[in-house]
Symmetry: C2
Subunit: 361 residues, 2 copies
């Protein structure tokens, strides 16, 4: 028995993996695997549509929104967003809260479009999320791009900024489907499935249909046009069948956990256990994130020195707490507590932290 704190690919609900394993050779008695069936056949099409419908339902979204099931990760979205949604001559606003925000900014220039920085916490080592008053928003921007959760630094937007009618484009790679969201300001959200919603190889895009339909596609390769995928319901080319099947199983599990409200309560409880261990350590554990910007997904902290960081991670691993090493650019410890991580894992980590601090403080 281990607890999996990997930052992604990451823990998947055991019930979903067990069901997929049981069906991998012979899918529901059909004599073949789901991965061996046509993506244009009835069995797969139902799985595909149910995943889309369930995703919309979990977020409480109506038919004005669409869910696209794509490939290529957030890295491809960094390019697709400006290529589709930012015309030459227009400008978009980007808020920089970490490494991945910066990657998103770089791609805008690479594809020959223009953007400006509407806010940044780089000077403070990306330790916080800029407050509304710190943002410098362009009312004429084509969209406002932000990263809802910063995996490396352990910060998260507690609420989305007020964008004054400019549609928000949100990279939700590491907190997709982890909490309810107010969608009135959002034009498009994207994220890989491999942290909170399944396995690597599937990119989920949730967007306002009407906005995508108005998008400019001149010079954009067919497979990189959102319109290609809205028109074909994400069946333009062969979709990543198994990753979508597993996505559907994870969405069922989220429903059974009480939907996004239930998952959010569970995630708050889990993160609370670990943050309490940090806060009660009398400074032995120092969080990277400012308390008002703390992430429920990735909890980053340091011990008094790097040697202790390393000892902490290796002893934790021996105790069955896997994947705690911080990202190389920040160092220290990072505990990723995605949806599927059992609360007992957070309890075990908090206890381990208290014991370790007692022994080494």
């Amino acid at each position: 028995m281990v607890y999996n704190f990997n930052p992604g690919p990451a823990v998947v609900p055991a019930a979903a993996l067990r069901e997929a394993a049981a069906n991998l050779v012979d899918f529901r008695g059909q004599g073949m695997s789901i991965v061996e069936m046509s993506h244009r056949g009835q069995v797969y099409e139902e799985i595909h549509q149910q995943a889309i419908d369930r995703c919309l339902r979990l977020y409480g979204l109506g038919p004005e929104f669409t869910v696209l099931l794509l490939q290529g990760g957030a890295s491809l979205q960094f390019a697709m967003v400006p290529m589709n949604l930012l015309r030459p001559g227009q400008s978009a606003d980007y808020i920089s809260t970490g490494h991945w925000s910066q990657k998103a900014v770089e791609e805008v220039g690479l594809v020959g479009r223009t953007c400006r920085l509407a806010g940044s916490s780089e000077a403070a080592d990306f330790s916080y999320i800029p407050a509304q008053a710190e943002l410098d928003l362009d009312a004429q921007a084509a969209y406002l791009h932000l990263t809802t959760n910063n995996t490396i630094y352990g910060t998260q937007f507690q609420a989305l900024p007020r964008s004054g009618g400019v549609p928000i484009v949100a990279d939700m790679s590491s907190d997709l489907l982890s909490r309810p969201l107010p969608w009135d300001g959002i034009g498009l959200a994207y994220g890989g499935a491999q942290k909170n919603a399944g396995i690597a190889g599937l990119t989920v895009v949730i967007a306002r249909r009407e906005w995508l339909d108005r998008a400019s596609v001149e010079g954009v390769p067919t497979v990189m046009r959102y319109a290609t995928h809205t028109k074909s319901n994400s069946l333009y080319n062969t979709p990543p069948v198994f990753a979508i099947y597993l996505f559907g199983l994870v969405l069922q599990w989220i429903e059974a956990e009480g939907g996004l409200a239930g998952i959010d309560a569970r995630n708050q409880h889990k993160a609370g256990l670990v943050y309490a261990a940090i806060d009660a350590s009398a400074g032995f554990y120092r969080g990277h994130a400012r308390p008002d910007s703390r992430s429920l997904m990735n909890l980053t902290f340091k011990l008094p020195d790097a040697a202790l960081d390393a000892r902490f991670c290796s002893q934790a691993e021996k105790a069955g707490l896997i994947g705690l090493k911080g990202h190389r650019s920040v160092g220290g410890v990072r505990a990723s507590l995605y949806n599927a991580l059992d609360p007992a894992g957070c309890q075990a980590l908090a206890e381990f932290m208290r014991d370790f601090a007692r022994q080494h403080a």
Copy 2:
């Protein structure tokens, strides 16, 4: 028990599926699934590297070649190839042998590059592969693009054309790893894994390292540059872990079947059984492909009328022969005999064809 003639996603070696199913919940006793592990950890990195090495070994390729494990399907390659390998001012040659060749041609213009048609069988309903003498090759072309196997029409290049030193770019979506190939003329080959080499969600690119390193990347999004993936050994962003794991298992199975020479002999035998049933039917079954262009992968034929085509497919399905309906653009019957289809399935299909012809001729 069924035999799976699906055109893709398609049959996967049962041994590979069984091993993946057995390891999906707990990978080799590690306490977690392969899909829950970091793609930067040792366990996954070994799987990743072994798949790459095994692919090169099966094709007998040395270190001047590289294997990239990407996402997005052939559709994304249609754009990546000209964006990376065709500079403005240059021209590439394209041979058009079907629907997918035409899609590849269209993308060249969409991304602002130039190509010309070096040969086409469109006027003959894509029923054959143009011979060397029919090609009009530009000795200055940046590359010569062709589709080695045409899934919809059931034609296949029996040998690659002589390109006079111009590097060949081959879309091998439906005959990847199905036969040995002479690589001296090939600069780059690509294909999805979901027909002969695993499951949907993985695109395999095999290319000359040095050619990719010289590629122009101005204005190309980072994730669409071949150089990005050669430099990072296809670990620039999170790879489709499970599809790559299964790809590795399928490659092991190909090795156990005697490598590509063994697989080729098996595929020749399989296709021979079905073509013999066509040829012995006194015209009851009419092949779409000209005999000199026949595919070993997709065998397309028609019965005397469309009503009989439909009856054939529905009776075959009742007999456990699944997925035989022809593509909507051609009609008739299509039997896809990819690597993993058991020869017994071809035997069963040939017998069914003889019985059906006897009853309906």
